[in-house]
């Protein structure tokens, strides 16, 4: 177990004019035993970052430290890391036991009997002891992923690296494995970097999330911090399902105004200049349906997507459409004219050009500072 640090990490592919910068000046640290999730859309540099940490890709600039030691020049096996791949990457000609054993065989001086013992205890931990003599071909996706996890665990590494390990599994298995990996990581208490493009995985599993876009870090923080206090519009839209609603408004006096939309400027946004344009962000779950003409805006309900306990309703207001999470069936119907409103602490304000959050809330729901603010505002 160890602390992992990335200082000004930069990675470019290609040379000269054709070169592409995949990761730019990335600085991050992962504490001992922490599970950090690197999340972002395809091509954001998250997998490249992971490969650099693993030693599978060389670093163009910057330093990677594991347990305080720079490892830039070390080969993968000298970095005391283990990796789980998206496509499992199990050796097809070896049995599950041989797959688990291979790393030990290559890197340790253990005897065959000692290796066998380690294989059996790891297999028991992952509940794959009955599968040890089978080859990957005859294993299901979930079983393969367990063997791949076992291959990482068995070497007792300082750092686990997981590259979208669940994306090849079907939805129900994915949620089961998600819990299992989380439990395993807690039990083993190993520093882990987990790469995914799935924000649900990031939210549910991470101790902290690092959101990346175009090779640069957008925000690092605990999942709820990123959800309630996004630093910019990208993070706000990427985290949360369905995505945050965005409305272009202009400040006029003490109100944010747009076509068919009017909302009092929250106290924390008082410093913003009147006459300027902003983007307001409101999460679908924060919006309440009210009587027409009484809230921030009034619109007509379009498509309603029932999900059982809740529904997603799309409400057309002038030329924008807001997605609203409502209570189960019957709350609103297609064609209804409804008013929408939302509490001021749930409003995010972003600069129109840079997308930077210009009036972030001070704390998370339930924080003492936040409770005080709420009473002031409300």
């Amino acid at each position: 177990m160890a602390r992992l640090e990335l200082n000004d990490l930069r990675k470019t592919f290609g040379r000269g004019e054709d070169s592409v910068e995949a990761v730019s000046d990335l600085s991050l640290s992962v504490s001992d035993g922490e599970l950090l999730v690197l999340v972002g859309p395809s091509g954001c540099g998250k997998s490249t970052t992971l490969n650099c940490i693993a030693g599978l890709d060389s670093v163009t600039d910057g330093t990677i430290r594991i347990g305080g030691d720079p490892v830039n020049e070390r080969r993968p096996e000298e970095r005391d890391i283990a990796m789980v791949f998206q496509n499992y990457a199990l050796y097809p000609h070896m049995t599950a036991a041989e797959n688990l054993e291979f790393g030990l065989k290559m890197t340790t001086g253990l005897t065959a009997a000692e290796r066998r013992e380690r294989v059996e205890s790891t297999a028991e931990l992952l509940d794959i002891d009955r599968l040890l003599d089978q080859k990957p071909k005859s294993l299901s996706g979930g079983q393969k992923q367990r063997v791949a996890l076992g291959r990482a665990i068995i070497r007792d590494p300082s750092v686990f690296l997981m590259d979208e390990p669940l994306s090849n599994l079907d939805a129900s298995l994915r949620s089961t494995m998600r819990t299992e990996i989380q439990q395993l990581q807690e039990d083993l208490d190993v520093t882990t970097v987990y790469v995914t493009h799935d924000q649900t995985e990031a939210m549910t599993m991470a101790d902290r999330i690092a959101v990346m876009r175009g090779g640069t870090l957008q925000q690092v923080g605990e999942p709820l911090e990123c959800y309630y206090r996004p630093q910019n519009r990208f993070v706000a839209e990427f985290i949360g399902e369905p995505a945050m609603n965005m409305v272009q408004v202009t400040r006029r006096g003490d109100r944010f105004v747009a076509d068919g939309f009017e909302y009092p400027v929250p106290k924390r946004a008082d410093h913003l200049s009147s006459g300027n344009s902003f983007t307001l962000g409101i999460r679908p779950g924060a919006i309440d349906v009210v009587e027409p003409q009484t809230g921030a805006a009034t619109g007509t309900v379009g498509v309603v997507e029932p999900l059982g306990e809740t529904s997603h309703a799309h409400v057309d207001i002038a030329d924008t459409t807001l997605t609203i999470t409502t209570d189960g069936p019957g709350t609103v119907e297609r064609g209804d004219v409804v008013g929408v409103d939302f509490p001021p602490q749930r409003v995010h304000v972003f600069d129109v050009d840079t997308g930077v959050a210009v009036a972030r809330r001070d704390g998370l729901p339930g924080d003492p500072v936040e409770s005080n603010l709420n009473t002031q505002v409300d």
Partner: protein, 322 residues
Amino acid sequence: MTVMLTMTSDAAIDDPSSGSGIRRTVGTYVDSVVSRPLFWLLPALLFITVFQLYPVFEVFRMSLTDMSLITSEESYVWLENYRRLLGSERFYSTLRVTGLYSIASIILQIGLGLGLALAIDYGVRRGLRGPLFTRVVVLSAWIVPGIIIGLVWKIMLLETNVGVVNNALGRLGFGIVPFLSDAQIAVVSVITAGAWRGTAFSMIMFYAGLKRVPDELYRAAKIDGAGPLARFRYVTLPQLKSVVFVVTILVTIYSLNSFDLIFALTNGGPGRATEVIALSMYKSAFNSYEMGMAAATAVVLLMVTLVVTAVYFRLFDISEEI
């Protein structure tokens, strides 16, 4: 026959009185014909029967006769040709040469082909320049007919100062090397020319096999601490097992049946030092005009090839790949 019967019974069921009825009936006929495996197998079956099975049968029949190119009469001598063939010193000499040539070809072609394929694959995976050029150069050896390659090598190995190789050796201060007239060196020359040509084939097969190996396996092996040799031993080779099998069988078959290159390069000489079975078969047929004897040699060569292939199937456990 089965197809025809079905068509008749289908026709009886449908009422073809209306236009759409006729179209439906025709459609049903076509469907019933094309949905049968025999329809799709027939062209291949016909081709194999006419161009392969019948000639094999005819050669076998000829081997039991005293058929000759200089007389139109022939009579069945049954196993006489085989008795003469297996009793002759020449047969065992050609068998020995063929065996030596084949073993050397297999080792060289697989070794060199795999080496080249690995180098090209490495270059491609690393994004280096040159793999395409190398592939084209090596493959050009494969597309040139063996008889021309034999002639080219013959010119290169001429035992005078005009020969490219002897000329070069001369400049380096060596004497003339009898590449084609010394019995032992001639065998080496033939093997070298054969390997030069055949390597292209095994290279392209191995390269195709290497391209199938997922990059993630190599990455996983690196993380697991496997160095370049261990990655080759534990990842590349097992993944290439089925390709090695196919290449070994095909190279063996090609080598056992080698004819054109050796015919052009040494014509089996000096003496019978480089005479392989296929060449002795040709000589029986077109030098001695003994078609029956040539056919018997061909049948024995076919048997040898079948036995060797059967042995390979036993040696390689490729049940999983197949």
